[in-house]
């Protein structure tokens, strides 16, 4: 088997046997073709020009980056001083004055400067957008329109233009108009999405009992960017047959809510807000983090058969009677649920992360050979710290991290493009990021005035 240790542990009996082996050998051949360099493979969006313009809005920046990973030619337009997004960075940490998120999302773009406050700047902008298929506008709603270079004006000379607008409340609706001056950030987009209101523990003292944002990542900005790309590519698919462009409007303040959808389901069926339930879950349990001997493990054994399996492997069948069914375990009463958590943690804390992971995997491997699967698949894994993840061999085999040496002699790591595709894999082709780095080439190529 591919990229393999010998006799890898499998968790399905269907992966065993001669016939499965033959099928998987064919599959391996396909996978081997996907493992190597992406360099000589075609790109899905080659020949598509994307213009990116915005101010301190990473939803727009990331959307353009993702289109660039799929092969579009992305030209990022900045004011002569650069996009203030360049300074948005954890604790002010930067490389040559450029923040880390910008470095991470700078790939595959051409960087030019245009002053849209001048007549020449606007003329140049129009020359570019006349040649473009997609524009990403992450400025204030109506800002380009009032300069005479918004969707209404640009589609006159380029009816095929796909105009992707990204803003907190969107480019239409009365609230969008009323609050159009409020700029976008990830935190405010999370808040208006109601995301923090379902996280955290209301039993804690202030301010630890406050609604709690998703940590560590820009949960709303990345969701918005991916939505913008999905929207743009849906419009692009129509454009392929009709040649017609259209406007695609993204409200970052609604991205998480409307895509994940559970908040709407809950609100509609319960007609009240959801109470926060700390480390529990409304649909699944056990499904959370537990303390063990040397850190934390994550346990996912939510289905009834998985839960029975968990009790067996932990030798805690005594809990079966009270917590047998999923509706016993996902109770709305946190204090009651806490009883099960405490009992499980009592046993889990006697073992190390590795011991528990191994126990669960061995159990599942045996389970897999049972045609009725009645023993379930309780899963336990170490709750990994990012620094542990970075050392994981699996990710280096899959080339998930790319080391960049920039011309100034700085070294840093960025995550590579995902996913893996057999014909048109997304990829990182360049990593430059300087303000106006491509002025000369792009000004020449598109006949822009200096």
């Amino acid at each position: 088997m591919t990229a393999s240790e010998k006799n890898p542990q499998v968790y399905s009996r269907h992966l065993l046997g001669k016939r499965a082996e033959e099928q998987l050998a064919r599959f391996d051949e396909l996978l081997r073709g996907m493992m190597g360099s992406t360099e000589n493979k075609p790109e899905a969006l080659s020949g598509i020009t994307v213009i990116e313009v915005g101010r301190a809005n990473f939803a727009g920046i990331i959307a353009a980056t993702l289109l660039g990973e799929y092969g579009a030619e992305v030209i990022k337009i900045e004011p002569p001083g650069g996009d203030p997004a360049r300074k948005i960075t954890p604790y002010g940490v930067n490389v040559n004055g450029v923040g880390l998120p910008f470095l991470m999302e700078s790939r595959n773009k051409s960087y030019i400067t245009l002053d849209l406050n001048t007549e020449t700047g606007r003329e140049n902008f129009k020359k570019l957008t006349d040649k473009a298929v997609v524009i990403i506008d992450a400025l204030k709603p109506g800002e380009l329109d009032s300069s005479g270079i918004g969707y209404r004006q640009l589609k006159e000379s380029n009816p095929g233009l796909i105009y992707v607008a990204i803003s907190p409340y969107g480019h239409y609706t009365s609230q969008g108009e009323k609050l159009s001056h409020i700029p976008d950030t990830d935190l405010t987009a999370q808040a208006e999405s109601g995301y923090p209101s379902i996280t955290g523990d209301p039993r804690e003292p202030e301010p630890y009992n406050y609604p709690l944002k998703a940590g560590g990542i820009w949960a709303a900005w990345y969701m918005s960017a991916a939505l913008a790309v999905a929207g743009a590519m849906t419009a692009l698919f129509c454009w392929q047959t009709t040649g017609e462009g259209q406007m695609v409007d993204i409200a970052t303040n609604d991205a998480i809510t409307a895509w994940q959808g559970f908040q709407v389901v809950w609100g509609f069926t319960s007609e009240k807000p959801r109470d926060r339930i700390a480390g529990f879950d409304w649909c699944l349990y056990p499904y959370g983090f537990f303390k063990c001997k040397d850190g934390y493990v994550t346990v996912a054994a939510p289905l009834d058969q998985d839960f029975r399996g968990l009790l067996k492997l932990l030798n805690r069948w005594d809990l079966e009677n009270d917590w047998r069914y999923v509706f016993d375990r996902t109770v709305d009463d946190v204090d009651k649920a806490e009883e099960l958590r405490t009992e499980l943690e009592k046993t889990l804390s006697k073992f190390t992360r590795d011991e528990l992971t191994r126990k669960a995997l061995d159990f599942s491997a045996k389970s897999a050979r049972n045609p009725l699967r009645s023993r379930g698949f309780p899963i336990i894994v170490p709750t990994k710290e990012p620094k542990e993840v970075m050392q994981e061999k699996h990710w280096s085999i899959r080339n998930n991290f790319l080391k960049v040496d920039d011309p100034e002699g700085n070294e840093f790591i960025i995550p590579t493009a995902i996913p893996k595709m057999s014909a048109t894999p997304p990829r990182v082709k360049s990593t430059k990021y300087g303000v106006g780095a491509d002025n000369e080439r792009i000004y020449g190529k598109y006949g822009l005035r200096k």
Partner: protein, 454 residues
């Protein structure tokens, strides 16, 4: 242009006209073998924009998420959460473990443009319904396999859930206050974000195919999608340290936090630029702050000691203001602020109704429900909900008769051999108690009667 910009946009995005607009993926057929969330949301996007999605489930057993309801609640014997994830799809019950079941699925794959699966890595291949088999009978197929860690590498057979992928990617220790309990990203973010990345890859492949006529295979890994959006790798490589949890503070913005208002609501304020900071300083009646050496420039303001200081100042100011006052000032002085909404306010929210991202629908089987459409609004080809998820095997006759051309007798034989089937008597699987499927022309797939109704 004399017409106000927002009057123009309101007209082109008029939600009252959305139903009559053409569908982006009309004529595209998707064979969806996936279950729970990560795979089904990929076909959800395609179904909302007009693709014909055939969702294959195991007879009697069904998609696990039919029972994945909150606090074991059902509505009209259905799980509203499952319904929200599977609109506009066709539900067919086929047993993939039977040879004849595989044959049916391969017949469907032959007539499809896209296949979605999220079995354990390699399992679809081992069953003989993987890309290598399907691409032989349908070379233009786009086939996406969704798994926890991808189809190759030492972790490939390792099992996954949203939360397991969160834990294996390292994001799971980052939500919470420093030194306090940590929390997961709620509502299965570890399924929905990777699912959305999956959508973009399928669409990239579809656009490529439209131009070059070639299909391809996609290996979509849940944990990889989460790792793609984490700043930790870059931060570690530059500083040698890792980023840790920061409560409600976004360490890339200062000030930034969630604050309590005078009227007991919560608001988020986050400042990304000098211009925004100067706006906030004016709104707080402290314009001199933007001339303060510690706060004037973004990179200085973000230094931990300065960020803590400015957060304290904002913390002293917000409790004197109501939620409305903060939002009005944010608009007036152009700084980022927002209410912390909750599920119930969201459902009642006029703004979302006007946008068309929350819609009331009237389903033939389930009546009136409220559901969500993605926040990406297309002017000319908008997403629509035509019907909610149906009972297990509800579209068997439609799929087997219309798409595969089987006779009633052949279907009856397959049913007897338990190759195809519908629900057993469980909630989440079966029709509502008041609904008589035997009189339903779609369930029986009586073409004449269906056309009459239109």
């Amino acid at each position: 242009m004399s017409e106000n910009y927002f009057s123009f946009t309101r007209q082109i995005f008029n939600t009252a006209e959305a139903a009559g607009k053409p569908e982006a993926f009309k004529g595209i057929r998707v064979l969806d073998l996936s279950r729970i969330i990560f795979g089904p949301v990929i076909s959800r996007w395609l179904a909302l924009f007009g693709a014909e999605v055939i969702k294959v489930e195991e007879p009697d057993e069904g998609d696990t998420w039919r029972l994945g309801t909150y606090w074991a609640k059902y509505r009209k014997d259905a799980n509203p959460y499952f319904q929200a994830l599977n609109p506009n799809k066709y539900f067919v019950g086929i047993d993939l473990k039977k040879e004849k079941g595989k044959e049916l699925v391969l017949e469907l794959a032959k007539k499809s443009d896209i296949v979605v699966e999220n079995f354990r890595a390699g399992l679809a291949e081992a069953w003989g319904i993987g890309y290598t088999t399907v691409s032989e009978i349908n070379p233009k197929i786009i086939y996406i396999s969704c798994s926890g860690y991808g189809q190759w590498g030492p972790l490939r057979f390792f099992p996954s859930w949203d939360l397991i992928a969160q834990s294996m990617s390292g994001v799971a220790r980052l939500t919470g206050f420093p030194g306090k309990e940590k929390y997961k990203l709620q509502d299965y973010y570890g399924d929905f974000l990777p699912g959305l990345f999956g959508v973009t890859s399928v669409l990239a492949a579809l656009n490529y195919r439209a131009k070059h006529g070639k299909g391809q295979y996609i290996d979509m890994a849940q944990a990889e999608a989460i790792m793609r959006i984490m700043p930790n790798w870059t931060y570690m490589s530059v500083t040698g340290n890792d980023l840790e949890s920061t409560g409600n503070v976004d360490p890339t913005m200062a000030p930034s936090n969630i604050f309590k208002t005078h009227d007991g609501h919560f608001v988020a304020i986050a400042i990304a630029t000098d211009e925004q900071f100067s706006g906030l300083a004016k709104a707080m009646g402290m314009p001199e702050l933007s001339r303060d050496k510690r706060f004037g420039d973004t990179l200085d303001r973000l230094k931990p000691e300065n960020a803590a200081e400015i957060n304290k100042i904002v913390e002293g100011w917000v409790p004197n203001k109501t939620e409305n006052e903060v939002i009005e000032l944010a608009e007036k002085y152009a700084f980022p602020a927002a209410r912390v909404m909750d599920d119930w306010r969201i459902v009642k929210d006029e703004w979302r109704r006007e946008r068309g991202s929350i819609v009331d629908i009237n389903d033939e089987m389930y009546g009136e429900e409220t559901s969500a459409l993605p926040a990406a609004m297309l002017e000319k080809n908008p997403a629509k909900i035509k019907w909610l998820a149906k009972p297990l095997g509800y579209h068997n006759n439609y799929v087997l008769k219309k798409l595969l051309g089987l006779s009633a007798k052949e279907i009856e034989n397959l049913r007897k051999e338990e190759v195809v089937g519908t629900w057993d008597n469980r909630v989440g699987h079966k029709p509502p108690p008041y609904y008589d499927v035997s009189k339903d022309p779609m369930f029986n797939y009586d073409e004449g009667k269906i056309n009459d109704r239109k």
